[in-house]
Symmetry: C2
Subunit: 311 residues, 2 copies
C-alpha cells in the first residue's frame, strides 16, 4: 500500500460573520484556500517533504492579501506591520520561530531558515531582521503591505486603547487572523507551520501564540502536527498544540478525541475562542474550532479536496 | 493539619566547573541562594501567596550580581543587556512573559505586572519597555548592569560568532545562566517564575526558553510548578515544563518520576543539558539536572533549608 500523504490549512478563526459575508467574498476566500492547499499538496505528491509542503502553503497564504499574515498583515498601533511565525519538523523535533519582524515578505520562510540554518530556535525584532538579511530572505517595502481594508480597520482603532485580532471591520468582535498548515509526507513525517500579523492596533510588542512552539505550533511524528488560530493569550496559557500531542501520547486518545477535549471543552471553559488544524501520522485530519467559523481547507489521504468557512 | 508550604529556587545549571570553584566562591553562591530562598519562604510563612513568593525570590536573585539575570545579566553582541522573564499562577493558569527588555531592573516584576494588569501574556522589546514605564516599573542605567567579569566574558567572545550561555569564563563550555523559583502557598496554590540575561554575545534577538510558557516556566495546581534552566533551544523544542505536567496529569506519574523521564532520559537523548526546580501541590520538591551542577536551594514542608551546587 502506498504511504498516505495529506495536508490541512487554515486562514484564521477570525472569519467575517456569516451574516455579513457576501457569496462573492465567500468564493474569494475558498478559492484562495483551495489554491494554497493545492500548492502544499503538490509538494507532497511529487515526493517532497512535509516541512517544504507546509512552508509552501503558508507562503501562498502570506502572499494573499485576504489573510492576516505576510502581505495581508494588519497595522499595529504605530501603523507598522509586525509579524510572527513558526515551523516545526515532526521527524526530528527541530523548530524555528520569529516574532515582531517588519518588512520580511514571508515570515514562515524566515522561521524555516532559523530552524534549518542556525543554532537558534526563536529570534525576534530587529535582530531577527538582521538574521533574515544575512541569510538572503526577501524584504518588501511599506507599499507591499499596504491594504485599504486593513488601513481602515486600523483608523477605526487608532488613538484608542482597543485592539482587534481580526478580519472583521466590526471592531467590537474578537477575531483571530492567522494562517497555518499541517502536512504528512510519504515518508511518514509530519510538519506544522503558523504565521500571523497579530492584532490590529497592537501595542507593547505583543506576541501571541503563533511563534510559541507548543502553543500555536507543534509537530512530532509519534503524535501529531498542529497549527492554531485563536485568542493567542489563552492559547499560550493552555499550551494548546502540545496539549493535544500529550493527550495522544500519554493518555492514548485519538487525534479526534484529543482535539475535542482541548478545543470544545478546555478552551471553551476559559473562553479561549479559536480553532486549529491537526493531522496524525496515519493521515487523519481534524479541523475543530469553537468560533463561528474558521477559514480552512484540506486534501485527505484519498486526494479529496475540501474547503469551508463556517460549520 | 496545617497546609504545607514549600519553595525551591535555582540560579542556573551553568555553574562554574567544580574543579575551578574556590571554597570562598562556593560559599558566596550558597549564601546568596539561601538568602533568596528565605525571602520567598518568608512571604509564604506570613500567609502570602505563591506568586508573590516566587517573585520575591527571583527579585533577590536578579539583584545579585552572581547570577545571569537582572543586575548580573550578561552582555549581548552589541554590549547591551537584553533580559527575558516569565511567571505563571497555578491557581488560574494566568501567565506573564517578557523578552528582550533592556534597562528594566527586575524583569520578573514586569512579567508579573503583565500577568496581573494587562490583557496580554507575552510582550517584547521596546514595546515591553514602554509598557513597563507606563506601569511604573523601575529602570536602571548601564552602570547598574555593568560587571567586570561579565564584561571580560563578553570581550573574549566579542567580534566572534561564538556565544556562551553561562557563568563560566571557559568559553568553550556551554553553561546556562538563569534564575527561577517555584512555590506552594498555604491555600494550596502553586506558582513558578524564571528570569535570565540570556547568552553572552547573543545576536539576532535570540529568545531562549525562559519567557516561553510551557517550555521554561509552567504552573498548574492540579500538577506542578516548574522553572527550567538549560540549553534553551532544546528546552523549547521539548516543551519541558508542560511535558512534566502532562506526564503527571495524563500518565499518572509522580513529580519525581516525571522529572526523571524528562531531565534524565528525554533531554539527555537530545543532549539537552540543564535542569529545573519542581514542586507539586503536596509539597514534594524535585531539583533534577543533567549538567555538572545547578545552583539551587529549597525550604521544604518541614521548614528544612537545603542548598547545593554540585551533585
Amino acid at each position: 500500500m502506498k504511504s498516505p500523504i495529506a495536508i490541512a490549512i487554515h486562514g484564521g478563526a477570525g472569519t467575517l460573520t456569516k451574516a455579513l459575508i457576501t457569496p462573492e467574498m465567500e468564493l474569494k476566500y475558498t478559492t484562495a484556500l483551495e489554491e494554497a492547499v493545492k500548492i502544499g499538496y503538490a509538494v507532497l505528491s511529487s515526493g517532497g517533504n512535509a516541512v517544504d509542503a507546509v512552508a509552501a502553503s503558508v507562503v501562498s497564504l502570506e502572499d494573499c492579501p485576504l489573510f492576516n499574515a505576510g502581505k495581508g498583515a494588519v497595522f499595529n498601533a504605530v501603523g507598522k506591520h509586525e509579524m510572527d511565525a513558526s515551523i516545526m519538523d515532526g521527524s526530528n523535533l527541530k523548530a524555528g520561530a520569529v516574532a515582531l519582524v517588519k518588512g520580511v515578505r514571508n515570515p514562515v520562510l524566515l522561521a524555516k531558515e532559523i530552524m534549518q540554518h542556525s543554532e537558534h530556535v526563536f529570534l525576534a525584532g530587529e535582530g531577527a531582521e538582521e538574521f533574515a538579511r544575512a541569510h538572503g530572505l526577501s524584504f518588501e517595502d511599506a507599499a507591499y503591505f499596504y491594504n485599504a481594508l486593513r488601513y481602515e480597520q486600523w483608523q477605526t482603532l487608532k488613538d484608542s486603547d482597543t485592539f482587534s485580532l481580526d478580519h472583521s471591520v466590526e471592531v467590537t468582535d474578537k477575531k483571530f487572523g492567522t494562517v497555518g498548515a499541517v502536512a504528512l509526507d510519504n515518508l511518514g513525517n509530519l510538519a506544522a507551520a503558523t504565521s500571523t500579523g497579530g492584532m490590529t492596533n497592537k501595542k507593547f510588542g505583543r506576541i501571541g501564540d503563533s511563534p510559541v512552539i507548543g502553543a500555536g505550533t507543534y509537530a512530532a511524528n509519534e503524535s501529531c502536527a498542529i497549527s492554531c488560530t485563536g485568542h493567542g493569550e489563552l492559547f499560550i496559557r493552555s499550551v494548546v498544540a502540545y496539549d493535544i500531542a500529550c493527550l495522544m501520547t500519554y493518555k492514548g486518545l485519538s487525534l479526534k478525541q484529543a482535539c475535542d477535549v482541548v478545543v470544545h471543552d478546555k478552551l471553551v471553559k476559559i473562553e479561549g475562542e479559536g480553532g486549529l488544524v491537526a493531522l496524525d501520522a496515519k493521515g487523519n485530519i481534524e479541523m475543530p474550532f469553537n468560533s463561528e467559523g474558521m477559514y480552512r481547507a484540506s486534501i485527505d489521504m484519498k486526494g479529496t479536496l475540501f474547503s469551508a468557512i463556517y460549520k
